[in-house]
């Protein structure tokens, strides 16, 4: 009888993990929220009923009605359209900064754990130094020097989250390199990069994926905070944080300017948290019931 191929076993394992994640109580709900948010971001030009930047000074602070389902803001822009376009900014910042941190931190952790000695000491002390700054203060300072805008925010948040991934990856590498199969690969004469790429990296991936899935929600919150302070995407561009900041002066006359982007931000972050928890539960054997 033919043995199942490695790929076949990998596929079955992934399928099993997916089933575990789907069986968690709130995971599927989180996935639905995430898919809706991604769909809104991708199809923003189609879904958005109006141009998000188009002002209508004759129709400012209009209550939600049939023409403007979520009302208009202080310069007559459609709140729904701006919220839809803001989804794109939030998701780009959230996923972009975490991807940047995952790649940079993962590589630095791999280098530190694999090289050991002085390289390890230097890389990890630099990571400790980055962790010594309160995250938002560091993001604010970096955002200030890199300049306001989406790119600056993605880089600033990427730097803020890098040490978490570097630490995790280093810890994983140290554990995995002590295992027999790594020693066997070395004894067979496999070069260092090959051992790192084929044996260490795939086995170290699970905690990194868990951390990434949990970090996206917080990165979205951080982007909204920076945009709220005025460091994110610049006016008249729309992002949830900047919409809330612009609407806070009209809380009494037009609470909908703050309410809708606030609700979108909150629901997305809750949904991504559910996804993160489900991924953690599926990948961490200790948490599986």
């Amino acid at each position: 009888m033919a043995r199942p191929s490695f790929r076949g076993r990998e596929g079955a394992r992934r399928w099993r993990l997916l089933r575990h994640a789907a069986r968690t109580r709130l995971g599927p709900l989180g996935v639905v929220v995430m898919l809706i948010a991604i769909a809104v971001a991708v199809f923003a030009p189609v879904i958005s009923p109006y141009d998000p930047l188009k002002q209508d000074l004759g129709n400012t602070l209009a209550r939600p009605d049939r023409a403007h389902l979520m009302g208009t803001d202080n310069v007559g822009r459609d709140v729904l359209s701006r919220m839809v376009w803001g989804t794109r900014v939030s998701l780009l910042a959230g996923f972009g900064s975490v991807a940047l941190a995952m790649v940079t931190g993962g590589l630095l952790g791999l280098l530190a754990g694999y090289a050991g000695g002085r390289t390890d000491g230097l890389v990890m002390r630099v990571m400790d130094a980055v962790l010594s700054f309160p995250p938002l203060v560091l993001a604010l300072a970096l955002g200030a020097v890199l300049g306001a805008g989406l790119t600056g925010v993605v880089i600033a948040l990427g730097v803020v989250y890098t040490p978490t991934f570097a630490r995790l990856m280093r810890g994983q590498v140290l554990t995995i390199t002590a295992r027999d199969y790594v020693e066997a690969a070395r004894a067979l004469g496999a070069p260092g990069w090959r051992v790192a790429w084929h044996h260490v990296l795939p086995n170290a991936a699970a905690p990194i994926v868990i951390q990434a899935s949990l970090s996206v929600a917080f990165a979205i919150l951080a982007e909204a905070s920076l945009s709220f302070l005025g460091l994110g995407i610049q006016p008249p561009g729309a992002s949830w944080g900047s919409m809330i900041n612009a609407g806070r002066g009209y809380l009494q006359q037009a609470p909908w300017i703050v309410f809708w982007p606030g609700a979108a931000l909150f629901v997305t972050v809750v949904g991504l948290n559910f996804v993160g928890d489900a991924v953690r539960e599926a990948l961490d054997p200790r948490l599986r019931k």
Binding site: S132, F133, P134, V145, S225, R248, F266
Partner: protein
């Protein structure tokens, strides 16, 4: 205990050196000429040249770093380009509202989270537990600025119970001062309470499943005396860790909260300095915040040793 403090202090030194290097590098990360970014194009070239000389930007970078570190070691964190005052004076004027806000927020978080965390764990899977876990989830996912605006809307705009912005020093005028801090402290405190509730619940559940709890139950001790005498002390260590880790979040949250409520604190100073492109002030304040953060984490480490003697001898 003294050895633990010394060991932690020594480990802090290289991190402090790297932190100063990072803060120094900030100004050099600016795309283009930092002087052009700090000053409008219309400013006279002589004024720009003077500022360049004053900040030492006309020197090679290693000379700049050495001079900057030397000044730091002499307590000179530089001067704000906006008001010409030393950074230390700018910060010392703003530190009091920030400390009062953080202390009040910490107190609110402990008052809310301690009973909620304990009750959630002790009455697992009941409505109290569901309330506790839902509160924790909402608190963690709710951005500070949104919570601040909701509190302003209900307690300031609709009910008109509390002032929505401004600051009165409670040490000078007790009641109006505390009233001016209630909404900002609630904003910060509830977010922190959410994290503490979640951690306390989970560490209580861990402690409740230990053998010594089973032994205490077998001895016939009541549930409340088991929690008071055995569980709570063991469940406290992760809570102290989280409180230590949350100091950064508290400082970050204070930046937003002070901005929304127009509190003249250090957080607001950072935001104002960033928007005024007052880089020497940004550098000075960020460095002070980072050093404060490192030292408070050091204090938390020492506190572990005091709570849990096993850590002292590791």
């Amino acid at each position: 205990m003294g050895r633990l403090v010394l060991r932690r202090l020594l480990a802090t030194i290289p991190v402090l050196v790297l932190v100063t290097a990072g803060v120094f590098a900030l100004i050099h990360l600016t795309p283009g000429d930092p002087i052009d970014v700090m000053m409008a194009e219309s400013v006279d070239a002589t004024v720009k040249a003077n500022l360049r000389r004053e900040l030492g930007l006309d020197q090679p970078i290693y000379v700049q770093y050495a001079a900057w570190t030397w000044r730091l070691l002499h307590g000179d964190l530089g001067r704000s380009i906006r008001n010409g005052e030393p950074v230390i004076e700018n910060v010392s004027r703003r530190i009091r509202p920030s400390l009062q806000l953080s202390a009040l927020a910490m107190a609110i978080s402990l008052v809310v989270a301690t009973p909620l965390g304990i009750l959630s764990a002790a009455r697992r899977n009941t409505s109290v537990d569901r309330f506790g876990t839902t509160f924790a989830l909402f608190g963690i996912c709710m951005p500070n600025f949104l919570l601040a605006l909701l509190l302003i809307f209900f307690f300031g705009v609709k009910l008109r119970w509390l002032p929505i912005s401004g600051y009165i020093d409670p040490l000078e005028e007790m009641v109006p001062g505390l009233r001016s801090l209630v909404l900002p402290a609630l904003t910060l405190g509830l977010a922190l309470a959410a994290v503490v509730t979640r951690t306390l619940r989970s560490s209580m559940l861990d402690a409740l499943s230990e053998d010594y709890v089973r032994t205490a139950r077998a001895k016939g001790l009541s549930e409340s005396s088991i929690i008071r005498g055995h569980v709570l002390k063991n469940a406290l260590i992760p809570v102290v860790t989280v409180l230590g880790l949350q100091l950064g979040t508290l400082i970050g949250g204070a930046v937003i909260t002070e901005y929304v409520f127009a509190l003249p604190g250090v957080g607001r100073l950072v935001v104002d300095a960033v928007f005024a492109r007052d880089y020497p002030l940004v550098q000075g304040v960020v460095l002070l915040i980072a050093v404060g953060f490192i030292l408070s984490n050091l204090a938390v480490d020492v506190l572990y040793g005091w709570i849990d003697p096993r850590i002292r001898y590791r």
